[in-house]
């Protein structure tokens, strides 16, 4: 297993190097001048030249890249052109928000999706199955941003039950240690802060979690339906085991293997959804920041963030594979 992990990590290196080159080239291919973005409406040509010189943007690209890599190797991801904040620092400030959002969305998707999928599979062809399958189809095809807008309209604006933006009510005096607001609230025993953070998570998490939820329902259903007809389930039945044991030990344990892979894949894909969700809900996370970095041509932020996301994406996939090995003994030996 350790070998496997090492091998995968080693394989990651060329991908990241390739990605960093690609990113570097791409970021510089973006039309528009970061200096202009920084200086705004009143920028003068001298001012722009000065900023470009400051950030070394008028050096040859190859040299810029080498300098960038050199800094990277020293753990320096550069500073945001817009805010001057070190990229690494800002990433770790914003990353908890996105993780919190993504985890809630995923948790929602798993906690609701797996039982629904299982239930549908066990009632294949009945009305309830059709209903669940249709619902999940709708979930797959509804654009995240549309759903986000709808949720906002219904639950925030019409019903006024849930907040529309931010991670926490600005009126609450909350201590932020880890920047995971719910966790912070629990750690500091500021219960209302934790609760408030959770309430703020509700709508974004639902919006972001719907697609993974729908996909998990479908995969679980398909997987359970397939496993149900496996020989070993028949063996289990022939042993006279109780339906509960058959479901849990023989059907679910096997059926969840592909679901695990799906969950991993979805976890990676949440980043894309987070850009849209965070934008709609003014949720101050990586997605929103990344998107504004694209429009602001904030080169260091773009390069750093996308590299991080790719890395995390790869690590999630690796974790899924490792996890898969842990739950599937067949993979363990090889």
């Amino acid at each position: 297993m350790l070998r496997f992990v090492l091998r995968r990590l080693a394989l990651l290196v060329p991908v990241l190097v390739g990605l960093s080159i690609l990113l570097f080239a791409w970021v510089r291919a973006l039309p528009g001048d970061p200096a202009r973005a920084l200086l705004g409406q009143r920028a003068t040509p001298e001012g722009i030249a000065r900023v470009n010189e400051l950030y070394g943007f008028n050096e040859p690209v190859l040299q810029q890249y080498l300098l960038y890599v050199k800094a990277l190797l020293n753990g320096d991801f550069g500073r945001s052109i817009q805010t001057g904040q070190p990229v690494l620092e800002s990433f770790f400030e914003k990353f908890p928000a996105t993780v919190e959002l993504g985890m809630s969305a995923l948790l929602l998707a798993i906690v609701v999706g797996v039982p629904l999928g299982y239930y549908a599979a066990r009632h294949q062809g009945r009305f309830i199955d059709t209903a669940i399958v249709s619902g999940s189809l709708l979930g797959v095809v509804t654009p995240v941003f549309f759903l986000a807008i709808l949720l906002k309209l219904v639950f925030a604006q019409w019903l006024g039950w849930l907040p529309t933006s931010f991670r926490q009510d600005a009126r609450i005096d909350a201590t932020h240690i880890t920047n995971f607001y719910v966790l912070d609230g629990l750690m500091t025993q500021e219960w209302d802060a934790a609760w408030n953070a959770m309430v703020h998570l509700a709508l974004p998490a639902i919006a972001l979690g719907t697609i993974p939820l729908a996909i998990i329902v479908r995969i679980t259903r398909a997987s359970v339906a397939e496993v149900m007809h496996e020989d070993y389930v028949r063996t289990a039945e022939s042993k006279g085991l109780s339906p509960a044991v058959i479901s849990r030990r023989h059907i679910l344990r096997n059926a969840l293997l592909p679901v695990t892979t799906t969950i991993g894949l979805q976890a990676g894909l949440l980043f894309a959804g987070a850009v849209l969700t965070e934008t709609v809900f003014a949720f101050n996370g990586v997605g929103q920041y990344l998107f504004s970095a694209i429009s602001q041509r904030d080169y260091p932020v773009l390069q750093g963030y996308i590299l991080f996301i790719a890395l995390i994406y790869a690590l999630i996939n690796l974790a899924v594979d490792v996890g898969y090995g842990i739950i599937d003994p067949r993979v363990r030996v090889s």
């Binding site: 028949r234 063996t235 039945e237 022939s238 006279g240 085991l241 044991v245 344990r253 096997n254 599937d328």
Partner: protein, 359 residues
Amino acid sequence: MTVTSEFLDSSAAPAGVHQGRGNLNGDGTLLSVRDLAVTFGVRGQREARAVDEVSFDIRPGEHIGLVGESGSGKSVTSLAIMGLLPDRGVKTSGEVRYDNENLLTWSSRRMSSLRGRDIAMVFQDPMTSLNPVVPIGTQVTEILRRHFELSKGDALARAGELLQKVGIPDPKRRLKEYPHQLSGGMRQRMLIAMALACEPRLLIADEPTTALDVTIQAQILELLKELVADTGAALLMITHDLGVVAGLCDKVNVMYSGRIVESATRRVLFGNPRHPYTGGLLESVPRLDSPRGAPLTPIPGSPTNVLPWTHGCAFAPRCRNAVDDCRRVTPALRPDGDRELRCHNPLSDDLPDDQRTDA
């Protein structure tokens, strides 16, 4: 409930094994199948009758063979007895009499406490019949714990003994392993160990050696024979391999397209097959003991070239002996001397008279 340990202690008398565990049917049979019919219905398609008019008896300790090619309905029959056919889209009629009751009318809950304990089953493919992600130990102990009130430790100890019994070396280590770490033969031994764990009164073996190599097959058949004899269980052997039943079964039922076409004791059946299908099978399979160069006489067509039984004899399109009646009149399974036969024009009876017990 106390666990009977005779199985583990082979010196104990097999007769005592099933004391207090149900009765025989009134006619002395352990299991009596009468007019079993299974119909599969799928939305938008015509119903398909997979098994029809199937009747046979199993007495305690008896070995019964059910022989047929794929699609002949032999496995469906066994699943129907076990109550393992899906609820939806399947209609089962007839009677499976056990303990003077019709199993087909039992609730699924009641059936599930019967399965594994009174009637157990070994399946064809040992590769797919074991749960790949559950340790072997759990898979053996779960059946013990389901049917006997055993602690985890006791169940595990007993599972170890069972593995030993079926010839799996180093059972302690094996119990912690997973099925993929075993060879095919070992897995089949595992399945047999599980099936015999509760010392059932009837063991149904559905093609238990088909997926195995011939030397392993010999091992497994030998093991089955031995264990079934030890526990005194009856055996219903389902196979397509006439060789397997020839050495094992007291009585053989040959199925074709969902119905029994010939039924007799093995000596009678193999010595003098009368149904053209049985005869054809025997003539078309190369035999190790026949002189080389003896030509094979194949059955023409394929098992899919069949008539529906409602329009005559299903085998008629492939039958060398077919007469006009065969395509018009559905033959019934009738006693014919020392056997039961479903044929309008059976093969000639060419055995010497002294071996016959004419009706």
